[in-house]
Symmetry: C2
Subunit: 369 residues, 2 copies
């Protein structure tokens, strides 16, 4: 591989799909204020802002955000450096393929040889230098005509993630071919994956020439592709709004894993860069507590504006009210205090928050979702 | 004993001292809205209203309330039948002797042979008929020149109550002489008391001729007695306000147990009626949970206006907000949700709420007390 890194990086454009409610983070995360709009790490910034900042050293002025219409104001407030022309607003959620493919198509019309990298707005990545190293290598590999994903080394046999099976080494410092993507496995299978050393967690980070992504999509989902191309053509013209209005609602809802990543892997088009950085999807409050306590047991992590009085309680307390919260003698507790809803559970039950949100849906409490 | 019950009861006048904050019930109970102003049983009425209603069958139109100036409005709202002339408002708290002795002195001037009965505003009594029976017998015994207390049969060796040691039987269906009052004992001593069968819990219910109470007080605390007498003389005159203003702040703060009950017992002036009714002082949230669940384990008791979603949690939830409160997988939890403060603990730690209130005092959070 002889391409110069700097040349390839010049063609790089980051895309941040900012969607997903994060039901397991209710009542903090809501349809109107999803996970990515919150500070879940105590960094003083939201996950979206952290994601933006993380990309600036390798994609300054070249970062696009795709999010829902309803979040336009919050996103603009949180990202004052975001150029309006790099903000795609979705009138309704159409899953990840529509979001990323539209970004790819719009960017490819502006710059035909663009290599896009898609990074979720609500993940936590520690060690920024290693992240940049991985993305830069991914961009170089992508420039050879690959769809490149960054694979996370599993730290446990999680059944909450999809996995990536690596194949042979490629002519690149760390990249390997990808044999296949596999969906969330059983715990037994997950253990085999972890033990084998051949599998990575799939965190949905994809780096690829925009044109290649669209070519794959044209074959796997021709109608969706056609709709995207039509919108993209109108995007930088006065026709944007009317075409968006007519085409967007018809787009098929499908995850990029099914529409692009898996079929491309079958064609030998996908590579993986093993990540050397620490990554967290902060999917539930137990994960946030874990991240906050940095392995220290018996700590109470506090996020938000609450005044807290705690008598040796441990766990996590998240608040966006100004109330005084007093805890006495609680272990591994999760308390999430918002103006109209209060959640109290324990780390052990953190995953059950999703079912609770389902119950709220079924019982007509939509004002709380 | 030959006195007719009806004649003695004619002379009976009930007094409800409504004071005490109930620190162990923070943040529900506050200086501005103490325990007796809350519905802690789910009866739909406050403890004060329950106490009032309980007394009406034996003291209709003859019930006096002694409370703090700051609670005047709330008490009048909650007790529309309370005659203004039977409401004594204290400019500042001066403990139970001043409160009860002033009521006794005011009533004795209106009706010299009055027998008063003092009943705390914040206790729970089940079985009203047995309560009435005990009080009626107490009034009859009081008419013979005794200070009569109603003793609760201990259901456990509690260290949270003072005890009453009974002596010989008196000429009355159930009354006994009282040998002595003892302060809150150690657990070891409390066990001996319970095992002996000779001790009752002291719930501060005293029934006695008003004049007898004042005679005892004149000997034990002559200055306090003189101040009370001076206020009482002015009470039903235009001078009330000025005399109250000059005398009340000088009154000694002392509990009626020390100023009257214990010295009277030493003189052989006190009798006890063993109560045959169930009594609770609902001193902390664990006690309220116990009362609510009526012994059923694994229940979640809910008091107040909260919308609750619970996934098999047990304990007690008290709310005076309209928030949705979701509980998942919590055992014996105590949740108290108020607009400006939230308490979360477990039944096991219910007594520690008092220390927490002390911390709030020390750290200058007086607005939350």
């Amino acid at each position: 591989m002889n391409s110069s890194k700097s040349t390839n990086l010049e063609n790089f454009f980051a895309v941040i799909p900012a969607g997903g409610v994060g039901s397991r983070l209710w009542p903090l995360s809501r349809a109107s204020a999803p996970k990515f709009l919150h500070d879940l790490t105590g960094s003083g910034q939201t996950l979206l802002q952290d994601t933006w900042d993380r990309l600036q050293p390798i994609a300054a002025g070249k970062t696009m955000v795709v999010t829902g219409n309803v979040h336009a104001h919050a996103v603009e407030q949180q990202l004052p450096e975001l150029d309006e022309k790099n903000l795609i607003l979705e009138p309704s959620p159409r899953d990840s393929t529509a979001a990323i493919a539209l970004a790819a198509a719009v960017l490819a019309l502006r710059q035909p040889n663009v290599i896009i990298g898609s990074f979720a707005a609500d993940h936590v990545i520690l060690d920024q230098d290693e992240f940049h190293k991985s993305v830069i290598e991914a961009v170089d590999v992508a420039a050879t005509g690959k769809i490149v994903t960054i694979g996370l080394r599993p730290t446990e046999p999680s059944v909450g993630f999809g996995y990536i099976q690596k194949g042979e080494r490629l002519d690149s410092p760390t990249a390997c071919a990808v044999l296949k993507f596999v969906e969330k496995p059983s715990i037994k299978v997950a253990k085999q994956y972890v033990d084998s050393g051949d599998y990575f967690w799939n965190a949905g980070m994809f780096i690829a020439p925009a044109k290649l992504l669209l070519e794959v999509l044209a074959k796997t989902e021709p109608e969706l592709h056609a709709g995207i191309v039509e919108i993209a053509k109108a995007w930088d013209t006065p026709a944007r709004e009317s075409v968006m209005k007519s085409q967007w609602p018809k787009l098929k809802r499908i995850a990029i894993d099914y529409a692009i990543a898996e079929p491309a892997a079958e064609q030998g088009l996908v590579a993986v860069i093993p990540a050397e950085f620490e990554w967290h999807d902060v999917g539930d409050f137990a994960a946030i507590a874990e991240l906050q306590s940095q392995g220290k047991k018996g700590n109470l992590a506090v996020l938000g504006s609450a005044k807290v009085l705690s008598d040796s309680s441990s766990g996590i307390l998240v608040s966006d009210t100004n109330r005084l919260i007093a805890l006495i003698g609680l272990e591994d507790v999760i308390v999430v205090d918002t103006p109209d809803a209060l959640l109290i559970t324990t780390k052990e039950h953190a995953q059950k928050v999703k079912s609770l949100v389902d119950v709220l849906k079924q019982t007509g409490h939509s004002e709380l979702l």
